[in-house]
Symmetry: C2
Subunit: 333 residues, 2 copies
């Protein structure tokens, strides 16, 4: 098993009020670079940053790293349009940060990114890959591609109150800017990404495609963004079994019916509840209050812990250790 | 244990007659990128290249990959000035390819590369790292820094007939271009690299420095280039135990007395003989004839195999498998 983090940024995240992936908008561009370092090293290195939401909710990278500490799985990071340098080892996909989806073209090099990621997927010798993402604003671009494909799915949010109307308005503008109507990109996943998606989607879909071609099982670790990845693959006529592993925070989000979307797209769904409401610790309290919910493959990591017989109590203990080591070593912004 | 490959290029390799790390000069610039892919994936991915010498000797990456297949160790690649894209995950050190050492400044950003690599070394949680290199022309830049430091060492060669007079003449010109005399950079390792070295040296020395600072044991996997890395650290007043693991091909090279150099610099030396003269296979024949000798941490990988109880017979069998899979799958240039 190999855990693959697909990391990038998009100008779409700068639109007011759609993402909580950073203490302030100007820090959001560094969040994926810092997430990659937390996962690779357990600490920030070049970024010097511990990503937190405006209310102080730490990045889900803390959770995924905690599970990695328990299980010791291999990690590979794909650079799907990072904006800031990271000390984590990354695979170069020739990806630039995505544009605001309200531009005519959101991801000019969607096809190049897809092909490079597909080559990497084909070259992997692992039995299984678990694919996570870190891209602020990613649920809005997920809504963009789902709408372009004509899929009726909704999306979740890193904010406790999902600004779904705001996202729908942004996607409406985005489709108009690309001169397409909902459903016009059905069967054309790369067109959907190019018009109203983000570079991380191109990397995730290419990687999964290549991995499946060489007999590697693919688990999408995440919430509605990974449902969108599944939809993109289904629209590429991939009918191989695919699964999505997410958190109970996403599954319980009434604004995004993940279960129904997975059923419609024939994606096997695994939901794991890390029991954060039982934990009286700052690293987990904001999740219990509905923030963040997912990201950095958190749901997939929790599912792996469960499968390997590591209790959620043990995972929560390790989360406290990772968080404490982080906040002692580096001053959070 | 983690194996770290430090990969980069230098214009110095283009000087006629000093390197065999590529079938032709124009392919040499892609050799480190391809070596990184072979080590990470067991096959070329973006480069589409299997590095071979002009006479057909395959890159030592085949040997290191074969040992990795047997032992399953973790690999991290540092981008210490790659010139061509690679699909291998790499750590970005802000390194550009090195200039010809006969320019006034060979590595303008030696200090930046050193500091970034040092941060990575400090962040590693491994007990031990084994550090290899892939940089065509690297023995000439090794001779450059050794001379600048005032160390009397000689260097080995990837060619059967070591063009040592040619290298000495190049280094003489290089020192003159930097306006320094032999020994002028004693105690100033970064000055030596900046004037007459290569970016891989800055990365290796920074990485080792950082790793030692955080209690990680360092083994230099290579021949005279790694003796030069040891010398650079000794000139940075590092008196921690350090070791060099190399092949019998380097140890038996009369033109470079590695044993004497290691003794003088207080570097523990391990020599491993892979028994290639017993193998009647194209992947190993040219080594037995005195070509290549080292590179991509081959000597360190062989020492690891030996330590873990994997016989050289088993290593040789796996080398044949890796080579055959490579040459079936991809047409060598």
């Amino acid at each position: 098993m190999r855990f693959i983090l697909t990391a990038g940024v998009t100008e779409t995240a700068r639109i007011d009020g759609i993402s909580a992936a950073g203490a302030a908008p100007e820090l959001m561009a560094a969040t994926p670079s810092a997430d990659a370092e937390l996962l690779a090293y357990g600490q920030p290195v070049r970024t010097g940053l511990i990503p937190v939401s405006p209310s102080g909710c730490p990045t889900p990278a803390v959770v995924t790293r905690a599970v990695r500490d328990r299980l010791g799985f291999d990690v590979t990071v794909l650079d799907a349009g990072l904006a800031e340098p990271t000390a984590a080892p990354t695979v170069d996909l020739d990806a630039a940060p995505g544009a605001d989806i309200r531009e005519a073209v959101a991801v000019p090099s969607a096809e190049t990114i897809f092909e490079h990621a597909r080559d990497v997927g084909r070259a992997l010798s692992d039995d299984e890959i678990v694919v996570g993402e870190t891209v602020p604003g990613g649920t809005t671009t997920a809504l963009g591609v789902l709408t372009a494909l004509g899929e009726p799915a909704s999306v979740s949010s890193s904010l406790p109150e999902n600004p779904l109307d705001r996202k729908r308005a942004v996607v409406e503008d985005a489709l108009a800017a690309s001169d397409i109507a909902p459903g016009d990109a059905a069967g054309s996943p790369l067109q959907a990404i190019r018009c109203v998606g983000d570079p991380v989607q191109a990397a995730v879909v290419g990687l999964a495609r290549g991995a499946l071609e060489s007999g590697t099982k693919v688990v999408f670790a995440g919430g509605t963004q990974m449902v969108a990845a599944g939809a993109l693959l289904r629209h590429a006529d991939v009918d191989t079994p695919l699964s999505v592993a997410t958190t109970s925070f996403v599954a319980n989000d009434g604004t995004a019916d993940v279960q129904a979307a997975c059923e419609r797209l024939d994606l096997e769904l695994t939901v794991t509840d890390p029991g954060f409401d039982a934990a009286d610790h700052v690293s987990m309290q904001r999740y219990a209050a509905g923030e963040a919910k997912e990201g950095v493959g958190m749901g997939g990591a929790l599912a792996l812990a469960d499968r390997e017989g590591v209790s959620m109590t043990a995972v929560r203990e390790r989360i406290v250790d990772v968080y404490d080591a982080l906040t002692e070593g580096v001053r959070a912004p």
